[in-house]
Symmetry: C2
Subunit: 421 residues, 2 copies
């Protein structure tokens, strides 16, 4: 996969600024300014077991767990928890009140003296999985990805399954192996069987891949038997993260018929440490692609607010940009995914996470996994490779809304015991 | 489906006994005697929000949450919790110590006076989901079921997928919609598209089915990147439950290619209220069927302790027995499923639940779902139908080891809004 030329700076690389400036002096164009304000959970070296909620501002984390009275937001008790879950559960009205208060705190010069001691350089903190994941669902919502993968996995069938344009295909993944950015990813062992193999082989995956995805975090739960309609999306979804759905293509190809992916994906799924509130993307809303078939009413978003988000993702491997998948190209929107996921009466819990599926655009340098970037031929990931996803969306007045990066380095597979070799 | 003649009493219907007898006077053959002792969580009408751990003995629940000092078991603090999770997490040594102490308490006549006030008739209590479910995985481990269903779903392909005898096929299900026995099951709405339909239809499932399964509850967690070998099964799995994996066959058939079942199953999965410790089945261990292909070392149980369990399941619809699926006929054992599920390094959490897949034996009256019992033709479940699964296994000295029943009544689908009709 040839590296993509990089005409624009990565949003994670903040523009130059003088080291003498304080945490609130952001450079022009910093994607973590007052219109972004993502939440995360961090700890500091002096209290490594004390997990605290913080908000990212530039290259600093502002500790929200115990703000001084003058800038204390409403619902401060929710911010004193060791995870985002209580805040997630509180619902949209609370989310908006807290966000408004946090924005006021970071933008009012009069508060800077009080807040500066509560700001920690990102480099000095440990970031943790910011919420307890309830159920994890992964969709398959990019037409380009589904078509490309269909051609590789099912060369003798039609690339796009018959149902693909009638419903957003999804499946449940493993919630217990979702890890935060920075966690090393150990190459999985497993069964594989290629067309030339007489019997299945066992060993380290030889086709370890990434999937560049966008995740949506459910805050407010829903009741069993009460579907969440398209226009109730914002009442339930708190925010957005980046997600890398690591995939062992050889394990997946052998196991996935007929009940879907299992061990090919369950070894690790990485998410960014920062959850960016949905409201941050108001200016980035886009119309999804034109629909090729009429949709059933519960999925028909022709009259709804634009359901796409103009998120521009960048995939780097060992620091080289290999792709720039455009999230705006997704056929199925997150609101449609949520409506579909609940139309059978399935309830939502606080902490449910659902992901878009691999984001691939129509161009060869917009593909979200190595399987597509290399047309199934590889090379796939080598031990030691480090993969990083970043993304940003347009915000108000030319601002950029950054998503926290999700990065992971591949470690070698565990040695096989003597009886496995 | 013609009702199966019932030569033996259901284990849930305890044999006659005099109403004058106390809770510890069990009739001969009661499947909830001193060799069974399953754990559950209950509340009483006078304190409906106070969830307490109890053990079932005959038709009573013995409250374990605050036993008198004379019979207090070790680790009593674990039994004071509102769910089984702390006990589950404590590990096998603790499980055995607690079980031995509880058995001593219920079998020692000297304790009866003290314990009788702590016994509640089953009919007087509310039973709750006994543990917090972490991840839920469903397998597909009956060769008879997989063959029968393959013929119906894929009439033009081979009935058994190529991978089926090389690995226990499994997939993740929705943990958040697992409900305890007795919870009504609302017929799901959803998309379906038959071969004769020009476009997908939307509405209540017309092919609502059951799947009679056995569930295994993980107690002790495992570390990421450390597979659980076959012989470590008992160190991690706490106990066994019955499970009904309700399935909307029309929704499932339309959605499941290529990523597996999703809304066809995620609306509800019912489990029994009682988790029977694995040790209760020591006398019921059986050899699984002969393997048709050599297994990779991590799955090869030829030299392991017998991995099957001679559990005899009974399925009733509206009180009529429709099937008697034999769990001993399963091709893949629970230990193999656990070894497979973790061989890629995926970790286990306390509360993980994995189920066997539909249990179907070789005979026409041993099939575990209506799809098979009616050869795909129906009738399927009608609104108002009540389905109950019961099961027992042989115990020591001719005793029966009962599993708690799992029952549910079908309620009509929610009305569709005007824009959905």
């Amino acid at each position: 996969m040839p590296p993509v030329q990089s005409p624009e700076p990565s949003p994670e690389q903040s523009p130059e600024k003088s080291p003498a400036q304080g945490p609130f002096d952001l450079a022009e164009g910093d994607p973590f300014g007052p219109h972004t304000l993502p939440y995360g959970v961090f700890s500091t070296p002096d209290a490594p077991t004390r997990r605290r909620i913080g908000v990212r501002f530039g290259d600093h984390v502002l500790d929200l767990s115990d703000l001084p009275a003058a800038v204390r937001p409403p619902h401060a008790d929710l911010l004193a928890a060791p995870t985002l879950n209580p805040l997630l559960a509180a619902g949209r009205t609370v989310w908006r009140e807290v966000r408004a208060a946090v924005r006021a705190a970071v933008t009012e010069p009069a508060h800077r003296t009080a807040l500066t001691p509560l700001c920690h350089p990102l480099a000095d903190v440990t970031l943790h999985l910011p919420f307890e994941v309830a159920d994890y669902v992964d969709f398959y919502a990019s037409e380009h990805h589904a078509t490309n993968v269909g051609r590789i996995f099912r060369p003798n069938g039609s690339a796009l399954p018959a149902n693909w344009k009638h419903l957003p295909i999804g499946y449940h993944g493993r919630a217990g192996t979702i890890v935060v950015t920075g966690t090393p990813v150990v190459r999985p062992n497993g069964q594989r069987k290629g067309g030339d193999d007489a019997t299945p082989l066992f060993g380290p995956s030889t086709r370890l891949d990434i999937e560049a995805e966008v995740g949506f975090v459910v805050g407010a739960p829903s009741n069993h038997h009460e579907p969440v309609a398209l226009d109730a999306f914002r009442d339930h979804v708190f925010g957005v993260c980046l997600l890398n759905d690591w995939s062992a293509r050889d394990i997946q190809a052998w196991e996935y018929v007929p009940l879907g992916p299992f061990l090919g994906k369950s070894f690790a799924t990485s998410v960014s440490a920062w959850i960016t509130p949905l409201d941050a993307f108001d200016e980035a809303r886009t119309q999804p692609p034109a629909r090729d078939f009429p949709l059933l009413p519960y999925l028909d978003d022709a009259a709804a607010e634009p359901g796409g988000i103009d998120l521009r993702i960048e995939v780097t491997v060992n620091g080289e940009t290999v792709s720039r998948p455009p999230f705006a190209s997704m056929y199925w929107t997150a609101a449609q995914q949520l409506a579909h996921m609940t139309v059978n009466g399935a309830s939502l819990r606080t902490g449910d996470l659902f992901a878009s599926g691999t984001v691939s655009g129509p161009e060869p340098d917009q593909l979200g996994c190595l399987l597509e970037l290399t047309k199934g031929q590889g090379p796939f990931l080598q031990d030691g490779d480090e993969v990083t996803l970043t993304a940003w969306a347009p915000g108000p007045d030319g601002a950029r809304i950054g998503l926290g990066e999700v990065t992971g380095r591949v470690l070698p597979a565990p040695a096989l015991g003597g009886d496995q070799a």
